[in-house]
Structure formats: C-alpha cells, structure tokens
C-alpha cells in the first residue's frame, strides 16, 4: 500500500513537471501554430540562470538562496522566451516551417552554449532543510519536494485558467485559438497576445526547469530535451490548446511511466508512454488532425 501511495505521489510530482513544460507548448501551439522546439532549451537555460543567481547567496541561508534562484529562473525563462519570440520567430510568421526550424536551431545552440559555459556535469542545487525531509502519508514516507511540485503545478493551472477565462487577454487568446483570422479582422493586435503567451510559456518552463532541479536534486544540460519529448506526448494526448486536458494528460502519462518503470522494468514505462501516444492517435486520428 505504502509503495503505491509513494508511486502515485512521485508520479504526480513528475506529472507536475510535465504540465509546467506542456502548458506553455500547448498555449503557444494553440494560439500561434508554432511548434516551439526550443521550449526544452528555455527550461534548461532558465534552470542554469536560477542556479547561478542562487549561488551568489551564501549557502547558510538556503531558503533565501533557493527562493531567489526560483525567481531568477522564472524571470530568466520569461526573458529568454520574449527574446526568442521577438527576434527569431516574429520575422517568420509567413513561413511556418521556417519557424519550426529556427526553434530547432535555437534549441541546439542554447543547449550547446550552456554546456560550453557550465560543462556536462550535473550541478547540485542548494535546498532548504524542509525540502530534503519527508512527510508520512498513509504509511508512505514522501519527499516534500514531490508535494511542493504538485502544489505549484495546481497553482499554475489555477492562475492560467483565471487568466484565460476572466481577463481581456485571456479572451483574446481563446478567441485566437478558435479563429485567428477573425480576431485580426476585428482590429485586435494579436501579435501582442503572441508575445505575452510566449513569455508566459517561457516563465512556466523556467519554473519547471528550476523545480526539476529541486525534484532531482541537481540540474544538467540535457534534462530539458528529454522533458520536451514527454511534454510533446502530453500535449498530443491531452489535445492541444486545452489547459485542463493538458493537466490530466500530464498526470496520466507520468503515472503510467512511474508504475510500469517500477513494476515491469526500468525503461518499460518510458516506452509504454510512446505506445500510449500511438494508441491515442489510432483511436482518434481526427482529434490529432485538428491540433
């Protein structure tokens, strides 16, 4: 029983990470029809930015270092995403394939730059004492970082839903997902909405990058790329552009992965997630086409 509880909570923690990456991807795709291959690079760059900032603060004050690092990562992700959109993607709105290619190039270059500056080795993240501790739930001793991740992801989901449903920009974004040409015809500046959505997605990815460091205890240059692939799967399974669908799919994908990796064999879970994707596409290919 306690193993199952532990697996569920760990799985949901991982799902929270997937959600933080996938929500931005899904929003960006839904509104702008841009497949952002550099989203994993945003995750990595922001994590390293946060780590560098946290390192400037003496390790004796771990809680302060960690929170300032978190803030730095979120800001770093947002700034990097803002620059990516305005400098590289905006000139290519007439060429959709060009946009995908440019994000591929940005992803390769950014990760290589991080490797050149910080090296391949993982970097330890300084954690406040309470995060390294465990909480006992239903007989299972659960690392607090898992709980933290779930709470943060739920908060981000709530904020995004409020933003999308209650604000004027949310209205524009939802209308843009529905029919972009019509929104433009009504004289609304969709491009500003693009930049905002991209920046928010980058901030969420940055949050994910730093929290992944918290979850695993360290950050490394390649984590973002592997996260991105699972986030793609989450986005396709959860139907692109839908926030709640994205959250549910993130939880399902992560739980399937955790349980099979534990009960079958390491790697089987990761593999089955890909099969899950194939299954989702075979059951509703039409759904995937309306992406």
């Amino acid at each position: 029983m306690s193993t199952i509880v532990l697996l569920v909570v760990t799985g949901l923690g991982l799902g929270a990470l997937y959600f933080l990456v996938a929500s931005g991807l899904s929003l960006i795709w839904g509104l702008m029809r841009v497949l952002n291959f550099a989203h994993g690079a945003l995750f990595t760059v922001a994590a390293y930015a946060g780590w560098s900032i946290a390192n400037t603060i003496p390790a004796t004050d771990a809680a302060r270092a960690w929170s300032i690092g978190l803030l730095g990562a979120v800001l770093g992700g947002a700034i990097a995403a803002f620059l990516l959109e305005t400098v590289l993607i905006r000139p290519l709105y007439a060429r959709p394939v060009g946009q995908v290619l440019v994000t591929v190039g940005a992803a390769l270059a950014a990760v290589a730059l991080v490797e050149a500056m910080y090296g391949d080795d993982p970097k330890q993240l300084v954690l406040p004492a309470w995060m390294s501790a465990n909480t006992v739930i239903a007989g299972a001793s659960i690392p607090n970082t898992r709980l933290l991740l779930i709470v943060v992801a739920l908060a981000v989901l709530g904020l995004l839903l409020i933003l999308l449903r209650k604000t004027r920009y949310g209205l524009i974004v939802r209308a843009g997902v529905e029919n972009r040409a019509m929104v433009e015809a009504l004289g609304i500046n969709v491009h500003r909405a693009f930049t905002i959505v991209f920046t928010i997605g980058g901030a969420a990815a940055g949050l994910g990058g730093y929290l992944a460091g918290t979850y695993f205890g360290y950050i490394d240059p390649q984590r973002g790329t592997s996260m991105l692939i699972f986030a793609f799967i989450v986005v396709v399974v959860g139907r692109l552009g839908s926030m709640t669908g994205c959250a549910i799919a993130a939880a399902v994908v992560a739980l399937v992965q955790q349980f099979l990796n534990f009960y079958a064999a390491a790697g089987v879970g990761d593999f089955s997630v890909v099969l899950l994707l194939a299954l989702a596409l075979l059951i509703r290919p039409r759904g995937a086409q309306t992406l």
Binding site: A107, L113, T225, V236, G267, P285, L291
Partner: protein, 350 residues
C-alpha cells in the same frame, strides 16, 4: 549548363574522389594530416555517409514535404541491427545484410503507417516520440544486446577482413563513396519517377493530389519506407567505418542534426543535401580541433567558450541560414549563378 557537360563534370569529380587515397598533398588548414592518411580518409568516409543520410532525409522532407523528427531511428536501426547480428549472434556478412534490410523495410512500414495518420506538426511530434522509444530501448540494453550507453564496439573477427584495421581505411573510404553514389543515383531515379512526381505534388498541395484520385497516404508511406531503407544502408556502412555502434546516434539531438544538414545544403535539392551532410560532419569534427588551435586560445573567453562548442556554431549558422538564406547553400548558389547569367546577358546585349 547542358546535360552532357554536367554528366562529364560529375564523372570527373567521381574519378578524383576515387583517386583520393593515392593523393599525398597536405592541406593543412582543411585537414590536419595529408589527404591519403587514415585519419583524413576516415573523416571523408564519415562525411560521405552523412551526405548519403542527408539525401535520404531530403527525399522525405524536401521532396515529399514530410517533416519527420524521427529519421535518425532508421539510421540507428541499420547501425545496431548490423552490429548485433555480427557481434552478438556471430552471423556472417550476407545473412546479416539480408536480415538488416528486411528489418529496415518492415519496421518503417509499420511505424510509418501509424505516424502518417497524423499531419504536419503532429506528424513531427509522433515521429520524434518513436525515435525516442528507439533511444530508450538502446539505452536500456535489453538482453545485453545493445550495450546501453557504452555502445557496441565490433571485435576484429566480427568485421569482414577487408574492412578491419587502419591499413584498410582506403577500402572503407571507397565503400562510403560507393554508398554515396548509390544513394544519390537511387534518389535521383526515384525523384524522376512517376511516384517521385506524385511526392512533389503532395508537397505542393496534398488535397489537390487526393482530388485527382490518388491515394496520398500510400504514396507518402512509400516515400517514408524508401527514405528509411536508404538511411539504414548508410547505417550499415557507418558501422564498418566506426567499428561499432554508439548510443549517440539514437538521441533526439542527432535527428535534429539531420534537419540541420539538409537545411544547410538546401531543401529539395539532392546535391545540396549531399553538400550539407558532408559540411555538417566536417565542421562538427574540425571545429573541435580548430578550437584548440593556437589562434583561438588567444581570444577572450567570451568568444572562445562558445566557439569551442561545434553545436553552438552550427546552431547559430543554421538560424542565420533559415532567416536570411531560405534555400540553403544550393539556393544561394543558384541565386548567384542566375545573377551572373543575367549580368552576362546584359553585357552581351550591349
């Protein structure tokens, strides 16, 4: 340029390339050692393999318009299936080749049949997911077959005698050259065939092709399988050159590198793809050497650190090409040559 002139030029180029192992000219800035040394020959051989691989990907992306992010999977399959059959099962060469080719027809047919139910960006995502599945399998080292992260080096007795050892690097060079010529010829034939014309029509406007009454799904599947088989052939040759399999070729970065190669050379032109693939591998290899060269050491760290990472340089180069030179090297060349013809006609008219 008339047809006979270009054929003549191509034959002359092939003759020069065949003769390279006998040429002793040192080309210090381009190659560290003389051209006929084993080091330069094997670098050139790998360049040829990547040229062939880029051609196979160009069939899919450049000619049929299918943006696959999983093409590296079929290359890796050729590499690993050959290495496993030779090293783990101790098969001889001919059964190994038959097995690998059969496998590399069946698997892409199944994976392609699933992936092609989606379109555009979803297709890109799904092919990437399958490539990732392949990468997971290789890294997990099932039944001790793939060797996991360490890769699967071939022992000397598993290699065919004519390809074993440094002394035979010129045989490997010719094998790679043969592969490149073969792949290019097959691709050229396919592109000119009726199926190839349908592929290009699908790239331009799939709905219209369907309206004419052709089953676009089957044509796309055909393109997918053909390009995958060519990629696995490149994989087979790669095993012999590298003397084994490494897990790097299964990663997502490698599949993205393929995209960089084709775009670098020029999408939708076969010789552009050859050029892009060769240039990519060449830069990837030589930039590491050059970055440790004395000239770069004197640069301030802010310039030296990024330049020492080949993927950073290639990534930036790629972005610049996408932004400013949409046709890649082939496109730039065409634009230059059309510019010069225009100038000649202008001056000729005066």
């Amino acid at each position: 340029m008339t047809r006979s002139v270009s054929i003549g030029l191509a034959l002359a180029l092939i003759a020069i390339l065949i003769a390279v192992p006998w040429i002793g000219i040192p080309l210090p800035p381009l190659f560290g050692e003389p051209l006929r040394s084993p080091g330069s020959l094997s670098l050139l051989a790998v360049c040829f393999v990547f040229g062939a691989l880029a051609v196979s990907y160009d069939l899919l992306f450049g000619y049929t318009g299918l943006l696959s992010f999983g093409h590296a999977l079929y290359f890796a399959m050729g590499v690993y299936a050959t290495a496993i059959a030779l090293e783990r099962w101790h098969w001889s060469l001919i059964p190994t080749l038959l097995f690998v080719v059969a496998l590399c027809v069946v698997v892409p047919a199944i994976v392609g049949a699933i992936c092609l139910r989606t379109h555009d960006v979803a297709f890109a995502m799904v092919t990437l997911a399958f490539a990732q599945a392949g990468s997971i399998v290789v890294l997990q080292n099932p039944f001790g077959l793939t060797g996991g992260e360490e890769g699967l080096p071939l022992s000397t007795q598993s290699l065919p005698a004519i390809f074993a050892g440094v002394a035979n690097s010129r045989n490997l060079y010719w094998l790679a050259l043969l592969l490149l010529i073969f792949t290019y010829a097959v691709a050229r034939m396919l592109v000119g065939s009726r199926a190839g014309r349908v592929w290009q029509a699908i790239r331009e406007n799939e709905r219209r092709v369907a309206t004419v009454g052709l089953n676009t799904y089957l044509f796309k599947l055909g393109a997918f399988v053909c390009s995958s088989v060519l990629a696995s052939l490149a994989g087979i040759v790669y095993v012999f050159i590298e003397g084994g399999a490494t897990s790097e070729i299964t990663t997502a970065n490698f599949t993205l590198a393929l995209l960089v190669m084709v775009v670098l050379g020029g999408v939708g032109t076969l010789w552009g793809a050859v050029l892009g693939g060769m240039l990519y591998e060449y830069l990837d290899f030589r930039l590491v050497v050059l970055s440790s060269a004395s000239g770069l050491q004197s640069l301030p760290p802010i310039l030296r650190v990024p330049l020492s990472e080949p993927l950073f340089v290639l990534g930036v180069l790629f972005i610049l090409l996408v932004l400013f030179v949409p046709g890649g090297l082939a496109g730039a060349f065409r634009r230059l040559s059309s510019l010069s013809t225009r100038t000649t006609t202008l001056t000729g008219g005066q």
